[in-house]
C-alpha cells in the first residue's frame, strides 16, 4: 500500500473480499487514518405532543376531524355529480360539473392524506430505528453452493460436454424468433411501393385549384394582389377513402404578388400566372404545414421548427433547419378563367427520405 502526502493510504477495495485486482484497476479512494470519529446519534428531542397532553389531544382532534372532512368531500362529489349535470350544448355546464366534482374529490383525497401524515408525524412514536446492512453479495458458502449447483447441472445434463446438442439448441433458439419478425411485414400494405407513392400527388395537368376545405374552384381574377389561399386539388374534398393521405401531400398555398417582386428562374417563368404562384404547403424539414404567411416580407414561416421560406425567390430557405425550397406547382388558367395545374409537382413534396435524390 502506497502512502501519500497526507498520511493516507490507498485502499484496494479494502472491504470487498474479491480484492485481487490488478494495479491498473486499483481504487483511487483515500482512506484517512486519523479521520474524525462518528459521534453517534445526537440526543433525542421529544415533540411538543410528547410533552404536553393538551397538544396531543389537539393533534388527535385534528386527525379525526380531517378524516371526517374527507367523508364530507366524497359526499359532496357525489352530490355535485347529480346537482351539476351536463346540459347539451352548454359548455358552461361542463365547466361546473368538472369543477365541483373535482373540488369534492380533492377535498376527500387531501384530507385523508394530510390526516394520515399528521397522525404519523405528531402522534406515532418518533423514535428512529436502525437496521444493519449486510453486503449485497451473497455469503461465501451461499456463493460456493450456487457454483456447485451450476456445475452439477452441467454435469448431469452434459451441457458443456455435449457440444453438438448445445450448439444446435443455441442455433434453434436464435432462429425461431425470425418468423415473428417477418410477420411484422404485414404492418404495411403488401401491394404498394412507398417510394413511388411519395413521388406523386393528386395534382396533374388540368386539375383545378380549389379552396381548402370547401372545394370551390378559384378564378385567377378573384385572387387579389397580396392575398393568399389555402388550396387543395379539385375532387379532394369529396374523397372518402384516402382523403387525408392525399391532402398531406397535395396541400398548396396560393399567393398573388406584384410580378415585379418575383425573382423567377428562366425555366420556371411559365409556372406562375400574372404574379400568382403556388407552392407546396408541406415543409421540407419534417412535414408540418407551412401555414404562416407574412405579407409585407413575402416570407412563409413553418410554425413547428421556424423554417422560413422566401416566396419572392422560389421559396428558398432563408432561415431554420429546412434545407430544400418548397416545391412549386406549375399553374395556368383554363378557358373559363379558373386556375389549373400544368402538371404534378416536379419533385417529391414534404420531408426528405433516403430514396429521394
Amino acid at each position: 500500500m502506497a502512502k501519500d502526502d497526507n498520511g493516507a493510504e490507498d485502499v484496494t477495495a479494502a472491504d470487498s473480499p474479491g480484492a485481487q485486482l490488478a494495479t491498473s484497476a486499483a481504487s483511487t479512494a483515500v482512506v484517512t487514518r486519523d479521520a474524525l470519529a462518528n459521534p453517534g446519534f445526537p440526543p433525542h428531542r421529544p415533540r411538543i405532543t410528547d410533552l404536553d397532553h393538551k397538544e396531543e389531544r389537539k393533534a388527535e382532534r385534528t386527525v379525526y376531524t380531517l378524516f371526517y372532512v374527507s367523508i364530507v368531500g366524497s359526499v359532496f362529489a357525489i352530490a355535485a355529480y347529480m346537482a351539476f349535470p351536463i346540459v347539451a350544448e352548454d359548455p358552461g355546464s361542463v365547466r361546473l360539473n368538472n369543477l365541483f366534482i373535482g373540488l369534492g374529490l380533492s377535498l376527500a383525497l387531501l384530507a385523508i392524506g394530510i390526516g394520515a401524515v399528521h397522525w404519523g408525524k405528531a402522534l406515532m412514536s418518533d423514535h428512529e430505528g436502525v437496521d444493519e446492512r449486510h453486503p449485497v453479495r451473497g455469503t461465501e458458502p451461499v456463493r460456493a453452493r450456487a457454483v456447485e449447483i451450476f456445475q452439477q447441472a452441467n454435469e448431469e445434463s452434459g451441457f458443456g460436454r455435449r457440444t453438438l446438442i448445445r450448439n444446435s439448441l443455441i442455433g434453434a433458439l436464435v432462429v425461431f424468433p425470425l418468423p415473428a419478425v417477418v410477420l411484422f411485414r404485414g404492418l404495411g400494405p403488401m401491394d404498394q411501393d412507398p417510394v413511388a407513392l411519395l413521388n406523386e400527388t393528386m395534382w396533374k395537368k388540368g386539375v383545378r385549384l380549389t379552396m381548402d376545405p370547401s372545394g370551390t374552384p378559384i378564378k385567377a381574377a378573384d385572387v387579389t394582389l397580396g392575398s393568399s389561399f389555402h388550396v387543395i386539388p379539385e375532387g379532394l374534398s369529396e374523397m372518402g377513402h384516402g382523403r387525408l393521405e392525399e391532402k398531406a401531400k397535395a396541400a398548396v398555398l396560393l399567393i398573388r404578388m406584384d410580378p415585379d417582386d418575383l425573382i423567377e428562374a428562366e425555366d420556371r417563368k411559365s409556372w406562375s400566372y400574372d404574379g400568382i404562384v403556388a407552392y407546396s404547403k408541406i415543409c421540407t424539414h419534417v412535414g408540418c404545414p407551412v401555414a404562416l404567411y407574412e405579407q409585407h416580407t413575402h416570407h412563409l414561416l413553418c410554425p413547428c421548427h421556424q423554417s422560413q421560406f422566401d416566396v419572392e425567390n422560389h421559396c428558398k430557405v432563408i432561415f431554420g433547419p429546412a434545407k430544400r425550397a418548397l416545391p412549386q406547382l406549375p399553374i395556368a388558367v383554363d378557358a373559363e378563367g379558373y386556375l389549373i395545374a400544368q402538371s404534378d409537382f416536379t419533385e417529391p413534396v414534404g420531408p426528405s427520405f433516403w430514396e429521394r435524390a
Binding site: 470487498s16 481504487s27 479512494a29
Partner: protein, 549 residues
C-alpha cells in the same frame, strides 16, 4: 461507533400466531396458514426507511403512475381507438357536423357528454405531466447525491429506462385523441423517421400502415399505450422497488449514520402512515389542478387535418428538448450523395440526443471506472463533496435546458418582441457554450463550499459578536460547531488522481492513460476532509481564540 439496534421487535407478536383473539386474529391465522405471509410481515413490517424530503420525489413518480393507471382505466371504457371517419354529433356545438375520427369524437364525448369525464381526462393528463417531471427530479436527486454508486448502478439503469418509457407513454397518449396538434406531432415523427438512412421510408410505411397518416396509427399506439408499455413499466417498477428493498435505502451523512446501518422510521406504522398519506396528498393535488386548470383543450384545435396549423404549437413539456434540438440546427444541413439523401438536420439531432441519453444511462459505470472504487456506498454524497460530478451534472442540465427552451423559441420571440433568428442564435450559443460555463461555475462553487465547511469545522461559525480584549484588540467570537454537525461536514469519500503505474509487463496501456487523464480531471482540485490532527492543530494554533464554550 455507536450502533443502536431496532428498539422494539414487534415481529414477535406478528400476525396469526394465536388462534384466539377475535375475528382479526382468526382471519390473520386463516391467511397465514395458506400463504405463509407472517414471514413477509416479519421481514418487511419493521423495515427501516430514512426520512428526507428529497426521498419523496421517487414516491411522487410512483403515486402519479398509480393515478395514471386509475384514471386511464376509466378512460378506456369510453375511448374508441379507431380512425374510422364519423360525423361529430355531440354536445359541443362549434364542431357539430364536422367529420372526424372515432378517436377524436369519443374523446369529445368524454369531455362534453360524460359527467366527470373531462375531470378524468385532465387528471390523466396532469398526472402524466407530473409523472415524467417527478422521474426527472428523482433522477437529478440520485445523480447529485451519488446514489447511483455501487451497488445501485443497475437500478439507475432501470430507472433510466423507466424515464424513457414514461416519455414514450406520454407521446403515445398525446397522439391518441387524433386532434390537430397530436396529428401534427405524428407528422413530425413521420418526418424524423423518413430522414433515417436506408430504412426510414419503410419504417414510416410500416408504422403508419401505408402513407401518412393512414387509418392504423391510433389503434397501434393504443395497444402500446395501454398494454405493452404499461406492462413493461409495471414490471420495471417492481424490479426497481425490489432493488430498493435488497439494497436498503441510502441515507444522508449525519451523526450516527454509517455505511453499515440505515436509520429511520419503521414501515409499520410510521412509514405506512406517512407514505400512504402522501399518496392521497399527491392524488389530491393532481385532482385539484385538474378541477381548476384546463389541459389539452382538443375542442379548440379540432380534428387532425394535414393542412391547417396555428402559430405557437408546442409539444408536452417532456418532448420539448427533442423538439428544441430540431429547431437549433442551422439551415442547409442536408446533402445528396450517390443518389441518396442524407438529412443531417435530422440525423444530427437523433445522434446528439441519443448520445446524451446513453451517456446519462451509463454514467455510473464511467465514474466507477475512473475511481476504481469497488466499495458499497450507502451514505449519500452532499453535492459539494463531489465537485466534478456536480459540475458535469450542471453542464448536462444546462444543455438539456437550452434544448428545452428552444422548443419555445417562437413564443419567446413573440412575447419579448425579439427576432426569431436572434432567439435561435442565442440558444445555439447557450447549447454549445453554456455547459462549459455551468461546469466551471458549479465546480468553483462546490470547492468554495467545501472550503467554507473546512473553515467552519476548524474555526467554528462566525457569531457576529465582537469582543474587545484587554489589550485593546477587537476579535469576533467564533462559535464552535458541535460534534454532530461537524460529522456531517467531515464525513465524505475522498479520492486522489490516479497515479499511472506500469503493469506486470512494464507497460502502460492506452486505456489506463485515458483513465489517468479523466481521474486527474475529476480529482485534481480536491479539498480533503478535516482530520483529527488538523482539528487539534487548529485549536492548538489559536490559543487566544475566544469561543463561547
Amino acid at each position: 461507533m455507536t450502533t443502536i439496534t431496532t428498539r422494539e421487535s414487534a415481529e414477535d407478536q406478528g400476525v396469526g400466531v394465536k388462534k384466539t383473539g377475535g375475528f382479526t386474529a382468526s382471519a390473520a391465522n386463516y391467511i397465514d396458514e395458506r400463504t405463509s405471509i407472517s414471514g413477509a410481515v416479519k421481514e418487511l413490517g419493521r423495515k427501516i426507511f430514512p426520512d428526507h424530503w428529497s426521498f419523496l420525489l421517487g414516491e411522487v413518480a410512483l403515486y402519479s403512475f398509480v393515478i395514471i393507471l386509475l384514471s386511464g382505466s376509466f378512460l378506456t371504457f369510453f375511448f374508441q381507438a379507431s380512425m374510422a371517419e364519423v360525423v361529430y354529433d355531440g354536445s359541443y356545438a362549434p364542431l357539430k357536423g364536422i367529420p372526424m375520427s372515432a378517436a377524436m369524437s369519443s374523446t369529445m364525448d368524454i369531455s362534453f357528454d360524460i359527467r366527470g369525464g373531462l375531470l378524468m381526462r385532465q387528471v390523466h393528463h396532469w398526472a402524466a405531466l407530473l409523472f415524467v417531471a417527478a422521474i426527472g427530479l428523482h433522477m437529478l436527486r440520485i445523480y447529485f447525491t451519488g446514489a447511483f454508486r455501487k451497488p445501485r448502478e443497475l437500478n439507475w439503469v432501470i430507472g433510466f429506462i423507466l424515464f424513457i418509457l414514461a416519455m414514450a407513454e406520454g407521446f403515445t397518449g398525446y397522439s391518441l385523441p387524433d386532434d390537430l396538434l397530436s396529428g401534427n406531432g405524428l407528422r413530425i415523427i413521420d418526418g424524423l423517421i423518413k430522414g433515417i438512412p436506408v430504412v426510414g421510408t419503410w419504417v414510416s410505411f410500416l408504422l403508419f400502415g401505408g402513407e401518412f397518416p393512414g387509418t392504423d396509427i391510433v389503434g397501434r399506439l393504443y395497444s402500446l399505450h395501454i398494454l405493452l408499455l404499461p406492462a413493461i413499466i409495471v414490471a420495471l417498477i417492481a424490479m426497481h422497488l425490489l432493488f430498493v428493498v435488497v439494497h436498503k435505502h441510502t441515507q444522508y451523512p449525519a451523526a450516527g449514520h454509517t455505511n453499515q446501518n440505515v436509520v429511520g422510521y419503521p414501515v409499520l406504522p410510521v412509514y405506512a402512515a406517512k407514505a400512504g398519506g402522501f399518496f392521497f396528498i399527491v392524488f389530491g393535488v393532481v385532482m385539484l389542478i385538474a378541477s381548476l386548470f384546463t389541459i389539452n383543450p382538443i375542442w379548440n384545435y379540432g380534428p387532425y387535418d394535414p393542412s391547417p396549423v396555428s402559430a405557437g404549437t408546442q409539444p408536452d413539456w417532456y418532448i420539448g428538448f427533442a423538439d428544441g434540438a430540431m429547431r437549433l440546427i442551422p439551415t442547409g444541413w442536408e446533402f445528396v450523395w450517390l443518389n441518396h439523401t442524407y438529412s443531417l438536420n435530422i440525423l444530427v439531432v437523433l445522434t446528439v440526443v441519443g448520445l446524451f441519453i446513453v451517456t446519462v444511462m451509463i454514467y455510473p459505470f464511467i465514474e466507477g471506472w475512473i475511481t476504481g472504487d469497488k466499495r458499497e456506498h450507502h451514505v449519500l454524497d452532499r453535492p459539494r463533496n463531489a465537485p466534478t460530478r456536480t459540475a458535469i451534472g450542471a453542464a448536462g442540465v444546462t444543455f438539456y435546458a437550452s434544448l428545452w427552451a428552444a422548443a419555445s423559441s417562437d413564443i419567446m420571440a413573440t412575447h419579448f418582441h425579439l427576432t426569431m433568428e436572434g432567439v435561435i442564435h442565442t440558444l445555439q450559443a447557450t447549447t454549445l457554450l453554456g455547459p462549459f460555463l455551468a461546469f466551471f461555475i458549479a465546480k468553483r462553487v462546490c470547492l468554495a463550499l467545501q472550503k467554507k465547511d473546512r473553515e467552519i469545522v476548524l474555526h467554528g461559525y462566525e457569531s457576529g459578536r465582537i469582543v474587545r480584549l484587554p489589550g485593546g484588540e477587537f476579535v469576533e467570537v467564533h462559535q464552535p460547531v458541535d460534534e454532530y454537525e461537524r460529522w456531517k461536514l467531515v464525513s465524505y469519500s475522498d479520492f486522489k488522481p490516479l497515479m499511472l503505474r506500469p503493469n506486470a509487463q512494464g507497460k502502460i496501456g492506452p486505456a489506463e492513460k485515458v483513465r489517468a487523464g479523466l481521474s486527474r480531471w475529476f480529482f485534481e482540485d480536491r479539498i480533503t476532509p478535516v482530520t483529527q490532527v488538523e482539528l487539534n492543530q487548529a485549536h492548538g494554533d489559536h490559543p487566544a481564540e475566544i469561543t463561547d464554550k
